[in-house]
Symmetry: C2
Subunit: 136 residues, 2 copies
DNA sequence: AAAATAACTTGCAATTTGCAAGTAGTTTAA
DNA sequence: TTAAACTACTTGCAAATTGCAAGTTATTTT
């Protein structure tokens, strides 16, 4: 199902082999911003991922230990997805992409505001966000 | 030829729409490390990109102004590719990916050494590297 | 107990990737 | 000075991936 073909030992290449497809980083983004998502939450996202692609990406991200499944406290029919530490550690990457995009695209206001915050004290921002994501 | 379909206004999504495929970031990596590359240099890279894919990615990266073509000083048969400022600005993203990968993969020694350097003073490292890349 | 939700699966078409074999202009070696 | 080699591509086709629409199964709600 999922391919663990490493193209080389280069860290960029190895990383892309895991989350360098068209959708994985958007799934991770959702989890960074919302902390926990159900399958339906991902489906609702603006980019309109197809259900089969979502299922396959969730599986591969789980296999690669970037995300984990949790029982939903309210319902057996629902599943909660969450970032693992390995996934949370992608926050600095995510932030740098935001900063880059902020320079070359026009962003939604809430993101602009976030980047402004980041720029005040990047380390502090990351630290407190990670803390938030790790809260049970 | 190249698709400029923006899936949404999200900065992560917009960024991925430009360089979020399997190969673009590896091309950018080569240019970050070697400053200038010919078509043949890219072909020589460890990951073995197919010639047609390389041509199409180079074209789309150029269309999106991340890279530019230059005449080769020694030969009319050769072409030099180089990062634009927009491309160079991806250095922080590249570095954070390296740092992430350093935690979760085993890297080649030269990259490990680089990351060690980065960690001493990230801002300084980035600044001096950018300066190097911008040198004519 | 029937209808609606939630999380997927399945089948197939469209797009993208990958391979192998060109091609056209340029440079090198005999 | 000309043929072989090099450089940067292009082309054609097969294989893999993505995307769409329509299921399916297990809850949960009405």
């Amino acid at each position: 199902m999922t391919d663990i073909k490493k193209r080389s030992d280069c860290p960029i290449s190895s990383s892309l082999d895991i989350w360098g497809d068209k959708w994985s980083l958007l799934i991770i983004r959702d989890l960074m911003f919302k902390k926990e998502c159900t399958y339906g939450d991902f489906i609702k996202a603006e980019e309109k991922i197809a259900t089969n692609i979502l299922a396959s990406r969730l599986q591969s991200l789980e296999e690669n230990a970037l995300i984990e499944k949790l029982d939903h406290p309210d319902s057996k029919a629902k599943v909660l997805y969450r970032l693992t530490e390995k996934g949370i550690d992608l926050l600095p990457v995510m932030i740098e992409i935001n900063i880059w995009a902020n320079k070359y695209f026009s962003l939604p206001e809430d993101r602009k505001a976030m980047i402004k915050e980041v720029k005040k004290d990047k380390k502090k921002f990351i630290k407190s966000w990670i803390k938030e994501l790790k809260k049970v």
